[in-house]
Each structure stands twice: as C-alpha cells, then as structure tokens.
C-alpha cells in the first residue's frame, strides 16, 4: 500500500497569489494513498526541506509529490533530501504549479483546478514508481581537442598540465590559428606572435600532448568516457620525424609564383612545398600536391628532394587514418571572415586597395608580406589616408548577419592607432555605427585612438567606394552633424564580420552537438553551462561558439579544460537512471527505435546460447548516450521499450486520474 506525502509550496507569492494552495492541499489529502498533505511558504528553504524529511520519517512514506516550481529548479534539492531519509531519489515527483500554472494563468479558480489536476497526476505516477539506480559509465581519461587556435591550445595545455593525455588535431599545417595571423593585440598592444609562440612551442614539447597537424576529424562515434575518433592525417609528403625545418626545400622549389599564400590572405605568394609562416609549429613543411610540379608533370621535378639533407621528402606518402579513444572532446573550431561580395558598392576584390581587417593585420605584421611596413597592395606606396569601415556584414540582417562581430570596434581602433604610429602625419577616418568597447581597458584604448592618435570617427555607414584619379573616394554619412561626407583615401579597410569556420557544421553533425542558425556551436545553457555542448562529454571553446576576443577565448579554453579535468577526477561518470530499457523478451528486432534515436544510443545485440549460436537479436541501449528523450518509446511497435520512471502504466494512471 502506498504511503504518499504531498507538499504544496507557496513560493512566497509566486504560486500562492494565483493558486489557492490550501485548496490544493485539501484536495491532496482526499486522494487514497495520501497519508500526509502539507503546504509551506518556501519548500526549498531549509525548514521546508526539514519538514519534508520529518514527514518521510514519521509517516514512513513510500513516495513524495511536491507541487512547486519546475523540476529544473529544485528536483535535485528534494531528491537529495529524500535520499537522506532512505528513499530512492526517483520516488520524488514534482507537479510544476509555478511555471505551468501560476506564472501563466490569471484566473485563480481555474488555475487552482489545474494545479489540483497536476498534483493528482503526480500522485498516481509516484504510486507506480519503481526504484531506479543511476548508471555508471567508465571513463577513458584522455581528451581530444579539435582546433589548434588560441582556445584549443589553452584547453590542451590546461588539460595536459593537469596530468591528462591530450590529442590535439589541427587542420592547417601549423597550430596557431587566427591569433598568430594578428599583429599586435588590443588593448595592450603586445605582439601576438610574442605571446602566442611560447604557447605553441609548449604544446609541441608537452609530454602529455599528441599533436596532429594537417589532420582532420574523419569520424566520431561513442559516448562520454568512450569516444572512438578517426583522425585523417593528410599526406604531408614530408616525414615529420626526420625533417629539421632547415628550409632548403622551399628555397629550392621553382613554384614561387602564382600560388597565393593562405596565411597572408592572398597578399603574397608561397611555394608548393612551404611552411605557412616562419614560427610554424611544427616547423615541418607541407607539400601542396595541387600545385607541385612533381605531381602535375609526372614526377619530373624533385628539386626539393635533391637539396633535402635528411632526404625526408616522400612523394609517395598517403593519407593515414589514426584511431584514438578519448573520454572527452573540446570543439574549438574557430572562425572565418565573411565574404564581402554582397557589398558591390564597397569594391572589395575590384579595387586592390580595399582590404579586409585581417589582410590589414598581415600588412602591419613584421612577419607579413611587407615585413610590417604598411604598403598598399596596388602599387606598394605607403598610404597617407586610410578609411576604416566598421560593421561590414555584421549587424546587417539584409545582406550579412544580424549579430555583432564584437571584435571589429577594437581591432579597427587598434589599426588606426598602429597606422598613426607607423606612418607619421597620416590620417585615418573610421565610419562606425556604435562603438562597442566593453572589456577592461577597451574604452580607454578607443578614446586614446581618437584623442592621442588623431583618428577621426564618423558615426554613419559608407554607401559607396569608387576609384577616381588614383584615390579611393569614400562616400559616407556623418549622422551627428547630419552631413553627407566624401573622403579621398589611399586605402580602405573593411571590418568584415566573423562567421563560423567553414565545415564546423559538418563537424557538429559528426559530434552530435547542436549549432545555431549561423553555424555557431550552441552551449548546453547560454549562461549557466557555457562550456558544455548539448552532448555529454563534448565541450566548446573559442570563436566556434560565437564572436569573442582573445581573453574570452582563453577563458573559454580554460573553462572547457577545467570541466574535463573535473569529469576525469572521478573514476566513473554517473548518468541519470531515467533512460530507455528494452524488454528483450518481446523485442522483435525491427530497429525502428534505432532509426528515430537522435543520439545514436541504440545498437544491435545478439543473444547467444551456450554454444555461441545467435538465438535472438534485440535492440540494446547505450546508457552513456541515451538521454531518456522517449522517441524510441513512441516508435516501438511491440511496446518493448520504455523509459524508466516514465513507464506506460504510469502515464495511463496519470491520464486516468483526470477522468474522475
């Protein structure tokens, strides 16, 4: 015989103002099997929890129903209180009479009736609850970090320094990501490579980090604690362990024209065998087979091999698939810059001296195509007047994206500042809509660009850029004085918006994590779980989640790392017990459940006799992956699969309770 206790919470006036809590309590007391019904102002408070515990003890309850706020809020609180009195945590049920009743209704009488109904349903459910044990999943204490930019590097180093093995996979020939392309960083103006290269080297030398560059994730399967990852190591044509990075090969390569350097964003040329930049980690070249004469002309050219001391160039190397088993994954795939082709009026691509922010970054950089001397791409002259245009693509729902790219205000201010420092007597104009400079030292930095470095800021957008007599004529608006403004510039820098890295959506699908309509990876909770993805064991870091600057990327990398170290500090991972279970006696192995499962949690299981012959094939639920969503329950024809704690008889009893 059930002995149920019902506890009705007022939640101050949150519930009590719209729901007659005393009526709910009275109605509860009338239900057969309910031995105790109480109401209290704040059930979640210490006295509230104590009264719950006392009643469980005194009345020897077999189940508890709380008519209170959403189970998202305090289910855990009440479960823990019940466990202390020896009750299985799953004998605690919540009737949500706040979010689903008091907050959304006005009519007190009808709201009370609804609250009573919800409470009754939960009483019938709890009568039929069975004890459920949480599932424990073993953990492979090794982590995979996807992306070798600043956030990926930070995550890898933090995990590795915590004594855990890390596999770092980077698509490009070198780690460093976008940050290593930058010149100096706002707001402190320390040079990007000066602060980045020590970290890159540390990654390369770390005994706990296994680094795969020029590699991509081919496949991911498994679940938290036990991910099976296939990594495609693309054919580098250079044997990494023998290469000394001497540079003879790329100096000898005859293909030094017409191949644009990706690292310098097409502002310079590279050879077929190349390192993207001098401080590359690892300092091992990659042979680009799509342009190499050896591959294009049937093996004739092998000048690089001829000069190579250790003879580590191997034209026959093939793509290699490496398999790793890891317990957790960090997705730090980074970002790309938006195309600006939709702004024909800005002439990007048409006029050589209209460049993107990242291209200007390369022009400023000492390791860039101009060795840090600002020269126009068209004629190599040093520009005297530069117009910077902010929000190109950002905050433009018509042609670009509606979101703010966050870093452009700051990097434009930095560009104008560095331009003033490098070219004395020069002048920069910045067209902006709003200045967003919200972190430590940022506002002061932007003001400094205006007040000390003389950049003139104009509030308004640019409508058109055209060439006239060797000058770029920029037509814009200054909404503060209410004027149309025309400026003759030597160069124009477009602060193009950021978008997720190309292919990050494919990777997200492979990982089984969600992403938003732009392709940015979404957090499990935007505020309270910012480092976790929607899938257990997969964490997020850096710009892959959305626009952010370097400090924030570092923070997010560290956050993901600390989450993983926390996860790995336990011997096993506990999963809520409310997951699907298969009745193997009735399962007919149609595998409809497998088809509808969004988490790849269902697999085939063969039941064998003692001789090893397969007697029956049934569906099998992987507890590490199952989230208890219930899709398989709906799909099952033979009613052989159920979510624990949400069994058919419980649901029917809930419905029947309303019919009375």
């Amino acid at each position: 015989m059930s002995r149920i206790g019902v506890f009705v919470c007022w939640c101050g006036s949150n519930i009590a103002s719209t729901v007659d809590v005393e009526k709910v309590r009275e109605e509860a007391a009338k239900i057969p099997g309910v031995v105790s019904a109480l109401d209290y102002k704040y059930m979640c408070s210490d006295p509230g929890q104590n009264s719950l515990r006392n009643v469980i003890k005194e009345k020897n309850l077999t189940g508890v129903v709380l008519a209170a706020c959403s189970p998202h809020m305090h289910e855990n609180t009440f479960r823990k209180a019940a466990v202390k009195e020896g009750l299985n945590p799953y004998f605690v049920e919540i009737a949500n009479i706040r979010e689903q009743v008091s907050w959304v209704h006005e009519d007190k009488e009808r709201a009370t009736a609804k609250a009573v109904d919800l409470m009754k349903m939960m009483v019938e459910k709890v009568k039929r609850d069975k004890p459920i044990e949480d599932v424990r999943v073993p953990l492979n204490k090794k982590a995979l970090v996807i992306g070798g930019g600043i956030s990926g590097i930070q995550a890898a180093l933090d995990i590795a320094n915590g004594g855990v093995e890390v596999v770092l996979v980077e698509k490009e020939p070198s780690i460093g990501g976008r940050m290593i392309q930058l010149d100096e960083t706002f707001p402190t103006l320390d040079c990007s490579s000066c602060i980045m290269t020590p970290k890159m080297v540390e990654v390369n030398q770390h005994p706990n980090i296994k680094l795969y560059t020029y590699s991509e994730i081919e496949d991911v399967s498994g679940y938290i604690g036990n991910f099976k990852v296939k990594i495609k190591k693309k054919a580098r044509s250079v044997v990494e362990k023998d290469c000394t990075g001497c540079g003879e090969c790329w100096n000898a390569c005859p293909m030094h024209k017409n191949v644009k350097s990706e690292f310098n964003l097409n502002l310079s040329e590279r050879t077929a065998i190349y390192v993207p930049f001098p401080q590359a980690v690892p300092l091992v070249p990659v042979l680009d087979r799509s342009v190499c004469l050896h591959f294009k002309k049937g093996g004739k050219c092998q000048k690089c091999l001829d000069v190579c001391g250790p003879k580590c160039i191997d034209f026959g190397l093939q793509d290699e698939i490496i398999e790793e088993t890891v317990g957790a994954i960090v997705a730090a795939t980074g970002y790309d810059l938006m195309e600006t082709s939709m702004y024909g009026e800005y002439g990007y691509g048409k006029y050589k001296d209209v460049v993107s922010g990242l291209q200007f970054e390369r022009l400023l950089s000492a390791s860039g195509p101009t060795e840090g001397v600002i020269k126009r791409p068209s004629d190599g002259k040093t520009p005297q007047t530069i117009v910077f245009v902010q929000c190109v693509g950002s905050r433009d729902p018509e042609k670009g994206v509606p979101y703010c790219s966050k870093v452009c205000c700051m990097y434009t201010a930095k560009h104008a500042k560095l331009f003033a420092h490098k070219v004395h007597g020069s002048q920069s104009y910045v067209f902006y809509i709003d200045i967003r400079s919200t972190s430590k030292g940022y506002e002061e930095f932007v003001r400094g660009t205006m007040e000390q470095d003389g950049a003139v800021y104009l509030r308004g957008r640019v409508s058109k850029i055209y060439e006239d007599n060797g000058k770029l004529i920029v037509k814009g608006a200054d909404t503060l004085s209410g004027n149309q403004v025309e400026i003759a510039a030597d160069m124009v820098v477009l602060a193009t918006g950021v978008i997720p890295k190309k292919g990050s959506d494919k990777l997200a699908q492979m990982l089984g994590i969600s992403y938003d309509k732009y392709g940015f990876l979404t957090e499990s909770h935007p505020k309270l779980r910012p480092a976790e993805s929607s899938t257990a064991g997969i964490f997020l870091a850096g710009m892959a989640q959305g626009p952010r600057d370097i400090p924030e990327s570092v923070v997010s990398g560290s956050a993901a790392a600390s989450k993983i170290l926390g996860l790995f500090s336990k011997s096993e991972y506990e999963v809520e017990g409310t997951i699907s279970s298969v009745n193997e006696a009735t399962c007919v192995a149609c595998f409809y459940c497998q088809r509808v499962c969004a988490y790849n949690a269902i697999s085939r299981k063969e039941i064998k006799d003692r001789n090893g012959n397969v007697v029956k094939v049934v569906a099998n639920v992987n507890p590490g992956l199952c989230t208890g969503c219930g899709a398989c329950v709906n799909a099952c024809f033979s009613k052989s699969i159920d979510v624990k704690g949400f069994m058919d008889d419980q649901i029917y009893a809930e419905i029947k309770s309303l019919a009375v």
């Binding site: 003001r447 200054d478 503060l480 004085s481 004027n483 403004v485 003759a488």
Partner: protein
C-alpha cells in the same frame, strides 16, 4: 548637405581652433549633454555638439556662418556639465573670434554680433562695463532706440544703471590685453 573633406584644410582649421581653445576636439564623444542642457538650443541652427563635430570635420563655412555661435549666451551650463570636461563654451568664443577676424558678418544674428562689438569697445575704454554707454551705443547702432525703454527707470531705481561711468585704475593693463590680442 554634402561635405567633401579636404584633409589639409580640415587639419589647418582643427589646429587653429585647438590652439586657441587649448583643448582637443577629439575629446568630445558626442553624448549631447551640452545640447540637452543648453537654454538657447531651441533657437540654434546646429546644436552645440554638432558644432563640435562639424569643426572636427573641418566644415569651416558652416560653423562660422552658423546662428549657434552667436546665439550662445556663454552661460557655461554645457561646460559645467560636460562629462569629458570639454570647453564647449570656449569653442563658441573661439569660433566667434575666428569669424570676427575673417570679417564674416552673421546674416541672421547681426544685432548679437553688434552687441559683442559694442561690449568689447566699452570694456576697452573703461576697463569695465559702463551700462548706460553700452546701451546707448547699442541702440544707436541697431536703431532700436525705444526698445526696452521702460526698463530704464526700474533699473535706475535699483541702482543697476549708473549715470556716471567709472574707469578702473590700471586701464593701461586692459589696453595691453587688447593689444596682445590684436
């Protein structure tokens, strides 16, 4: 209105204003607090913050011919309240001075301009204000002889208007200030 920015002209104008102002135009971040509190804003063609921006952009003709610079009563509400400590009142003074030196006559605010001229003459000859002479000369110049005439007895009664003007003792020092300035 369309403005073609000529960089050299812009820089020259900004440099001229800033050297007279002893303040930097780029300090202004266009919050508009000056305009919000300005008691004569409703009569102005450009708000005070617009004047600052236009000066920064080198729109010399527009600012020097604006009503705003002559309508400013130098009450200092703007400068007192400016969060950046910018000399808003000061820029009006500077622009009036530049306009005056260039011989630009305000088309709409002639009388204000005349008042300024008479006022300075008065200070130059007395070292301080002699109200009766100031009013007299102003009325002769503007030919509004009888305007506000009925205020005179009241002001006399309260001792606000003196029949005899007084000069300060070291008038030569005031003369020096004027000389330095010119």
């Amino acid at each position: 209105m369309k403005t073609v920015l000529n960089e050299q002209n812009r820089r020259n104008f900004v440099a001229q204003v800033e050297s007279m102002l002893h303040d930097k135009l780029s300090k202004c971040y266009q919050c508009g607090k000056c305009s919000a509190g300005c008691p004569v804003n409703f009569e102005m063609d450009y708000t005070p913050n617009q004047i600052i921006k236009m000066t920064e952009l080198g729109m010399e003709d527009s600012v020097l011919n604006s009503k705003t610079i002559w309508l400013c009563v130098s009450c200092n509400t703007c400068s007192t309240r400016c969060p950046k400590g910018f000399e808003v009142t000061g820029i009006m003074d500077v622009l009036r001075e530049i306009a005056e030196r260039k011989g630009i006559t305000s088309k709409t605010e002639k009388e204000v301009q005349m008042f300024h001229e008479v006022f300075l003459e008065n200070v130059k000859s007395h070292g301080r204000i002699f109200e009766l002479e100031l009013v007299g000369k102003y009325k002769l110049k503007t030919k509004h002889l009888f305007r506000d005439m009925f205020l005179a007895p009241k002001m006399l009664e309260k001792g606000k208007l003196k029949i005899h003007g007084e000069k300060i003792s070291n008038l030569n020092q005031v003369a020096k200030i004027f000389k330095d300035f010119e």
